[in-house]
């Protein structure tokens, strides 16, 4: 830059070249601090919670995650109870798995229909309707499931399945209690549908028009085009979307806590009650003695670690496939 002559000529001031505005420097610092706050928050999140839960981790060792004896003590200062969170880990994983088994095929079908089969006139209203599911607060899902959906709609279905399939398939047998892993999983499926659909839809809409035209030119029917072009290309995106949905499902608290039944034992059928990791924290926290609180924070740490791993992997996969996680539902 030859700023020297011009600036001196105009304003009679010394050269601006090489000087740095202090306002600029301050501004940059301000934004850097704001940006790093995210790092600080995440780091302290890990630090304080692990620190708080440390006495329980040390007391239990690996049995914290491999034992299912959860027998909280009432001490203020030391660890007297037994804290094995396996039942809650199983509850979280099982409800999330049921949710995904139900939600993923439905999401793929919905996204496929919305992107490549829906008539123009109903495409937008349908998209809005699915996104609307994401705007419903989880406590409303809990309320609706607790007072209407599970006892009225799901209960007969569960009884039927347990009575027929349950007689020869393990984990599906009777007895059926109204609020159980399956009920929580189904409502959870409704809750993760919008995010999986949103990301899948995004990936599917990126299918190159030339490849679609090529498939049709070769004489493919619409389904064959979807099957061999759209689905084939979208596969990694679908995996990423599924894992994002999994992350959401693992962390979901209130709806699961209200519908999973609240048992501290591992149910040997999906129609028996259990408890999830987030659920046990939400339900027992307010009445917990100090040592119990420490154990609950420990459960939170385990949940945090699992969700972070799933989420990072999911975003990585979506990113690698050139997808982009967007949309209100995906935020």
């Amino acid at each position: 830059m030859t700023a020297t002559d011009t600036t001196e000529g105009v304003a009679g001031r010394p050269s601006l070249a090489g000087t740095k505005s202090s306002a600029d420097k301050w501004f940059r610092w301000l934004l850097t601090i704001a940006g790093t706050s995210v790092l600080v928050i995440l780091a302290t999140m890990m630090m304080f919670t692990v620190f708080d839960a440390w006495p329980v981790f040390r007391h239990e060792g690996w049995s914290f995650v491999f034992s299912s004896t959860w027998d909280p003590g009432v001490s203020r200062t030391e660890i007297t109870g037994q804290y094995g969170a396996l039942a809650f880990i199983v509850g979280t994983l099982l409800t999330s798995a049921i949710a995904l088994v139900v939600a993923v095929p439905l999401s793929i079908g919905t996204a496929l229909y919305l992107t490549h089969a829906a008539p123009r006139a109903i495409k937008n209203p349908l998209t809005y309707a699915v996104e609307l599911l994401a705007a419903v607060p989880s406590v409303v899902y809990g309320l609706w499931g607790l007072l209407f959906f599970v006892p009225v709609v799901l209960r007969p279905i569960m009884d039927f399945v347990a009575g027929t399939l349950g007689s020869f398939i393990p984990f599906l047998g009777p007895p059926v209690v109204t609020y159980n892993y399956f009920a929580a999983g189904i409502v959870l499926a409704i809750m993760v549908l919008p995010i999986i659909t949103a990301v899948t839809r995004e990936v599917m809409s990126k299918t190159p028009a030339s490849e679609i035209a090529a498939a049709y030119a070769l004489g493919a029917t619409r389904w064959e085009m979807m099957r061999f072009v759209v689905l084939h290309r979208a596969r990694p995106g679908i995996i990423g979307a599924t894992m994002l949905g999994l992350g959401r499902a693992l962390g979901e608290t209130i709806a699961v806590a209200m519908l999973v039944g609240g048992s501290k034992l591992i149910g040997h059928s999906i129609f028996l009650g259990g408890q999830s990791m987030a659920g046990i924290i939400a339900v027992t926290f307010q009445e917990a003695a100090p040592e119990n609180v420490k154990a609950l924070i420990g459960v939170g740490v385990v949940l945090f670690v699992i969700t972070i791993i799933v989420n990072v992997a999911a975003r990585g996969i979506v990113l690698l496939t050139g997808g982009h996680v967007t949309g209100d539902a995906a935020l």
């Binding site: 505005s21 306002a23 600029d24 301050w26 501004f27 940059r28 934004l31 850097t32 704001a34 790093t36 995210v38 790092l39 995440l42 302290t44 999140m45 919670t49 620190f51 708080d52 095929p105 439905l106 079908g109 919905t110 496929l112 229909y113 089969a117 349908l126 699915v130 609307l132 599911l133 705007a135 419903v136 607060p137 989880s138 406590v139 409303v140 309320l143 007072l147 209407f148 959906f149 709609v153 409704i190 004489g219 029917t221 619409r222 389904w223 064959e224 979807m226 608290t253 209130i254 209200m258 987030a278 939400a282 926290f285 307010q286 939170g300 945090f304 969700t307 972070i308 989420n311 935020l331």
Partner: protein, 303 residues
Amino acid sequence: MSIDATPANAHPSLHTRSANAAKRKRKDRMMTGLLIFCVTLVLIPIALILYQVVQRGIGAMSWEFLSKVQPFAQRREGGGYLNGLFGTLYLLVIAVTVAVPLGIATATFIVEYKDSKLSPVIRFFTDVMSGVPSIFIGLYIYALLVQGRIGFSIGFSTLAGGLALSLLMLPIVARASEEVLRLVPDDLRNAAFGLGARRWQVVTKTVLPAASSGLITGSMLAVGRAAGETAPLLLTALGAFVVTPALVNAPQSALPLLIYNEARGPFDAAHARAWAGALELMLLVLILTIVARAVNRNHDMEQ
């Protein structure tokens, strides 16, 4: 497109439908039917949940519900969720005050200082943060501020609840803002630089105003998400039976907390209030979403 050489009649089967073609056609129709079945299955819960909340909610909604606090005993009829509505709005004001400036600043840093080595790191961890379970955010605020791990304690309080919600909103605001800021054309930045503006002037006087409606929309959506959160509030705001104006050392109530507590009980009167509360909460979220979209649409039309 140029199609070369091969004449169409080189392949007779294009004109004579084979038995296979009929089978494929049938499969195509069947799969389209299956897709429509999927969509229908997805639409059923949407219809059910909206219908139930509106129908049962309106039945229990009244002026009394909006203007009174809940009775101490859940089995008693009457009363309302004024304490919850007040608490939710109060918590949201705190959450917005913290999360919106911080989130937009974070996004600005990520987009406007791309040259910084920190920028991609912060972007990545913003993504990570958006995946943190909300209950864990509650545990963090509990360990840090309620329990007073850092030397002082603010107790179960509005401030603790508001901060928990703000941490929930922060990554949402940051990510939404980031997408909007990326859409601001570089021409605009270059023009401002060309007029001799400093970097901070370019950002505050050109880029942010240009993106303002998008930033508002993103923030509103985040508020909508925070308004419906229950889990972190259980561990930070705790819940209260009365309207609580205090900022610290006094538990605060919120609509989701009240719905959660009353839905779990066995009393019909409490359930009725919970449905009305659900309607109130969903209307609140709906209004925020509509305002957010309206802001965005107005802006789009201006351009």
